[in-house]
C-alpha cells in the first residue's frame, strides 16, 4: 500500500547562496543565508520555523543553524544519510512531519564548502574511522577509491549489455551545459562545450572523462515545507509534494553494489519510483520536466529507465533523440544540473524543480509544467519526489 502522504505538504520557499569554488566563508554562513532566503521567499519569519532537516554529512548542527537564523522552538530535527542520496529524503522527512502535525514549517537545508573544503573527489582513505571503513577496505587496497571509479564499474557493464556509447554520455553533458550557458547562477554560465571540448577532457576512470563528472562547489540551498492550508496564505504559489519516496534495495552497498545478479541498473530507484507514483496516482506520462541527479552522466540514463521514461536499455536512444532539451519530451536539469550549475548534493535540483512548477526557471520550457520530478544521488540509497501545482 502506498503511503498516504500525497498533497499533505507543500513547498513554499526556496533559497540559495552564490555557488562558487571558494566561498571564503563558513559552511554555517552558507546554511544560514540559504535558510533565510528560503524563508524570505516564502514570506515567513525564522520564528515560524519548527522543523529542520538536513543530511547526516552536513557539518552544520541544527542548534547552530537555528541560533544563527533566529528560529524559536524546533520540534522536529532529522537527518538523512548517504550523501547526495539524501536530497529528496529531506522532503520525505519534512512531508511526514507536516502531514502528521509534528511540525508545521520545516526547512530542509544543505550547505557545504565542497571545493575549498572537504572534496569528495579526494576519495576514501585508510584514515577513515567510520563504520563504513570495513566496507571500503575491500576496494581501497586495489585503488578503487573514488566515486568516479565506482560509477565507472557500473557504466562499463551497462555499456556492454545495452550498446550504449560515449555519444549518450556526451549528450547528457552537453544538454546540461547548454542550459547552464543561459543560467547566470551556473559555474558554466556563457561557457558552451563542443564535442571536441568534451573529447579533450582529462581521463578520469574510463569510460568516464572530466566532463562526465560533476563539479565540486561551495554553496548552500534550502527549501521550506509547510501545510497546504498555510501555504495558501503565503507569498509564493505553493508547490505540492505529490509523491516522495526513498529506498535501500536488496543487496545494496554504499556505492559498490557489485554483487547483485545484474549491476547495470538501480533497483532502489525502481522501488522509490513505483512508490512515489503510487502515492499520487501519476505515471511517467504525467511528468513534464525533471531534475535528474547528475553526479556523473551515465547515472542519468539508469534513472530515466527507473522512472519509466523509457524501457531498460533504451535510455541512450532517449537522450540522443534530444528528449532532455528544451523542446524534448522531458526537459531536464534546466539549471545546468550538478554537471554545469553547481554540486550542492541535489538540493539545488530541488530548488530548480520548484521553479519549474512555479514557472520561473531561467530555462522554463514552453509547455506547461504541471508535474516535475526531482531525484536523489544514486549508487547510495536513493529516492525521488514528484512536485506539482497546488490545487
Amino acid at each position: 500500500m502506498a503511503a498516504t502522504i500525497s498533497d499533505k505538504a507543500a513547498i513554499v520557499g526556496i533559497g540559495s547562496t552564490e555557488f562558487s569554488k571558494d566561498s571564503g566563508r563558513s559552511e554555517l554562513a552558507l546554511a544560514a543565508e540559504a535558510v533565510k532566503k528560503a524563508l524570505d521567499d516564502a514570506g515567513l519569519k525564522p520564528s515560524d520555523v519548527d522543523g529542520l532537516v538536513t543530511f547526516t554529512i552536513d557539518q552544520n548542527e541544527e542548534v547552530d543553524v537555528a541560533r544563527a537564523v533566529g528560529c524559536g522552538n524546533i520540534s522536529l530535527y532529522a537527518r538523512v544519510p548517504y550523501g547526495g542520496g539524501a536530497a529528496t529524503g529531506t522532503l520525505l522527512q519534512a512531508a511526514m512531519a507536516v502531514a502528521s502535525g509534528v511540525a508545521e514549517v520545516v526547512v530542509c537545508y544543505r550547505a557545504l564548502n565542497g571545493r575549498s573544503g572537504q572534496r569528495y573527489s579526494a576519495g576514501v582513505s585508510g584514515t577513515l574511522i567510520t563504520g563504513s571503513a570495513i566496507h571500503y577496505g575491500y576496494y581501497m587496497p586495489f585503488g578503487l577509491l573514488t566515486p568516479a571509479s565506482w560509477v565507472a564499474m557500473f557504466t562499463r557493464r551497462y555499456m556492454h549489455l545495452t550498446g550504449c556509447t560515449q555519444d549518450a554520455l556526451f549528450e547528457i553533458a552537453q544538454a546540461t551545459r547548454d542550459y547552464a550557458v543561459r543560467n547566470p547562477a551556473a559555474f558554466f554560465y556563457q561557457r558552451p562545450m563542443t564535442r571536441a571540448d568534451y573529447d579533450a577532457g582529462k581521463k578520469i576512470c574510463n569510460p568516464l572523462t572530466l566532463y562526465d563528472c560533476c563539479q565540486e562547489s561551495d554553496g548552500g540551498c534550502a527549501i521550506v515545507v509547510t501545510t497546504p492550508e498555510r501555504a495558501r496564505h503565503l507569498k509564493q504559489p505553493g508547490v505540492s509534494i505529490r509523491g516522495v519516496a526513498q529506498c535501500i534495495a536488496k543487496d545494496q552497498e554504499e556505492m559498490t553494489s557489485f554483487y547483485r545478479p545484474d549491476i547495470a541498473r538501480i533497483p532502489e530507484m525502481d522501488v522509490a519510483a513505483d512508490e512515489a507514483y503510487a502515492q499520487c496516482g501519476l505515471s511517467a506520462k504525467d511528468i513534464d520536466a525533471a531534475v535528474i541527479y547528475d553526479a556523473f552522466t551515465p547515472i542519468v540514463l539508469w534513472q530515466l529507465e527507473s522512472w519509466g521514461f523509457c524501457k531498460y536499455g533504451e535510455a541512450a536512444d532517449f537522450v540522443q533523440a534530444g528528449n532532455l532539451r528544451p523542446n524534448g519530451r522531458l526537459p531536464s536539469n534546466t539549471h545546468g544540473g550538478q554537471l554545469s550549475e553547481a554540486y550542492i548534493h541535489g538540493v539545488n535540483g530541488i530548488v530548480e524543480a520548484v521553479r519549474l512548477v512555479r514557472g520561473t526557471s531561467v530555462n522554463q520550457p514552453k509547455k506547461a509544467v504541471h508535474h516535475a520530478l526531482v531525484t536523489s544521488g544514486v549508487g547510495v540509497p536513493t529516492g525521488g519526489a514528484i512536485l506539482g501545482r497546488m490545487t
Binding site: S121, Y139, G143, L144, R156, C205, N206, F258
Partner: protein, 325 residues
C-alpha cells in the same frame, strides 16, 4: 650536569663573549651580475633594478644595484663549509664544539636582524667582521634546555666604509624527549625514505579472517554453514537463511572480467600505473574487486578469462592479482 659542572661549562663558554670569530674576511666573490641574477630568479624578484642595465641606468639609482637582502650572502662561506668538509675550526666552531661536548646537541637558527647602510653595486667588495656578542642565561624552551648565542657581523666595503650590520641568533639546546619524539614522527622514525604502500583495509571482527588468509596466500569465500550460500564481501549473517554459522572455501582463482575501469585520475601514491580495477566473476559464483595485471589496458574486456594469484604487491600488502588466463 651538577651545579659545579654547570658553572665550569658556563665559564668556558662565556670566555668566548666579545671574541672575534677570526680576522676580517673578504667575500669569496665580489658583488657581481651573475650572482645577482641567480638570486633574483630563485626568489622571484622581478625588480628590473637588479638585472636590466638600461632600466637601472635611467632610474634614480643610475645603474644596477644588488638586492639589499643579499648583504649576508656576499660574505658567506661556500658550499663545502655548509657540508662541513673544510676541516677549518674557527672560533665560532670551537664554541659550538664545547656545547656539543656537553650534551647541547640541538641547534636552531632562531632569527636575524639586518641593517642596510648603503646599496651595493657590481664590483663592490664586501668584508665581514664577526664578533660573538653575547650568550644568554640558561633558558627552558619547547625544544629543550639551552642557551641563545648572538653574533654580530659588521660589513664594510673596499674603502673601509660601513655598508651594513647583522645580528644572528642561534639556540643550542639539549633536545627534550618530547621534541625528539616529535622530530621522529615528522621524519617517519628514521632517515631512510620508505616507499609508499597501498591503503590497507582496517581489520575487525567480520573481515580480519579474510585478510589474514590473503596474507597467507589464499583467497577464501565465506560459506553459510546452514544453507551453503557463498558470500563476498564477508558479513556476519547469511542473507538467505539468517544463520550466523559460517565457514569458508578456498577459491580456485579462476574467473572472468565482469566489469572494469582504468583509474587514471587522481593518482594515489603507492599504486601501480596504469591501474586497472576489475570486477572479477569467480568460477565459484561470487564476485570481487581486484587489480588486473599482466596486460595492457586496451586488452581488457568484459568476459576476458583471468586467473588469479595472491601475491605481495609492496612492503605492507598482499593482494589477489588477476592475469589474462
Amino acid at each position: 650536569m651538577t651545579p659545579a659542572e654547570t658553572s665550569a661549562f658556563e665559564a668556558k663558554i662565556r670566555a668566548y663573549v666579545g671574541r672575534e670569530m677570526g680576522p676580517p674576511k673578504r667575500g669569496n666573490d665580489d658583488v657581481n651580475l651573475a650572482m645577482i641574477r641567480h638570486w633574483a630568479e630563485v626568489t622571484g624578484d622581478e625588480n628590473p633594478l637588479y638585472t636590466d642595465a638600461e632600466f637601472a641606468a635611467a632610474s634614480s639609482r643610475k645603474g644596477i644595484i644588488a638586492p639589499p637582502t643579499m648583504l649576508g650572502i656576499w660574505a658567506m662561506e661556500g658550499y663545502p663549509m655548509a657540508q662541513g668538509h673544510t676541516g677549518k675550526v674557527d672560533v665560532q666552531r670551537e664554541l659550538h664544539n664545547i656545547f656539543e661536548a656537553h650534551g647541547f646537541t640541538g641547534v636552531l637558527g632562531t632569527n636575524t636582524i639586518t641593517e642596510f647602510h648603503r646599496e651595493l653595486r657590481p664590483g663592490d667588495q664586501v668584508i665581514s667582521h664577526t664578533v660573538i656578542d653575547n650568550i644568554s642565561a640558561p633558558k627552558k624552551t619547547a625544544r629543550g634546555h639551552g642557551y641563545f648565542i648572538e653574533t654580530v657581523t659588521r660589513f664594510t666595503d673596499q674603502h673601509g666604509q660601513d655598508v651594513g650590520r647583522q645580528v644572528f641568533r642561534t639556540l643550542r639546546f639539549m633536545p627534550s624527549a618530547e621534541s625528539v619524539a616529535a622530530n621522529q614522527a615528522q621524519s617517519g622514525g628514521d632517515a631512510k625514505l620508505k616507499a609508499p604502500t597501498r591503503i590497507q583495509s582496517p581489520r575487525g571482527h567480520d573481515n580480519a579472517w579474510w585478510w589474514e588468509a590473503i596474507d597467507q596466500g589464499k583467497l577464501l569465500i565465506q560459506r553459510c554453514k546452514r544453507c551453503g550460500t557463498l558470500r563476498h564481501p564477508p558479513r556476519p549473517m547469511c542473507g538467505e537463511c539468517q544463520s550466523l554459522e559460517w565457514d569458508s572455501i578456498e577459491s580456485s582463482l579462476e574467473g572472468e572480467v565482469y566489469s572494469y575501469t582504468e583509474v587514471s585520475y587522481p593518482k594515489f601514491p603507492g599504486y601501480p600505473d596504469p591501474l586497472l580495477c576489475g570486477l572479477i566473476q569467480l568460477k565459484e559464483g561470487t564476485r570481487l574487486v581486484a587489480n588486473i595485471v599482466g596486460c595492457v589496458p586496451e586488452a581488457v574486456h568484459v568476459g576476458m578469462k583471468v586467473r588469479g594469484k595472491v601475491e605481495r604487491v609492496d612492503d605492507a600488502t598482499v593482494l589477489p592479482n588477476f592475469y589474462p588466463a
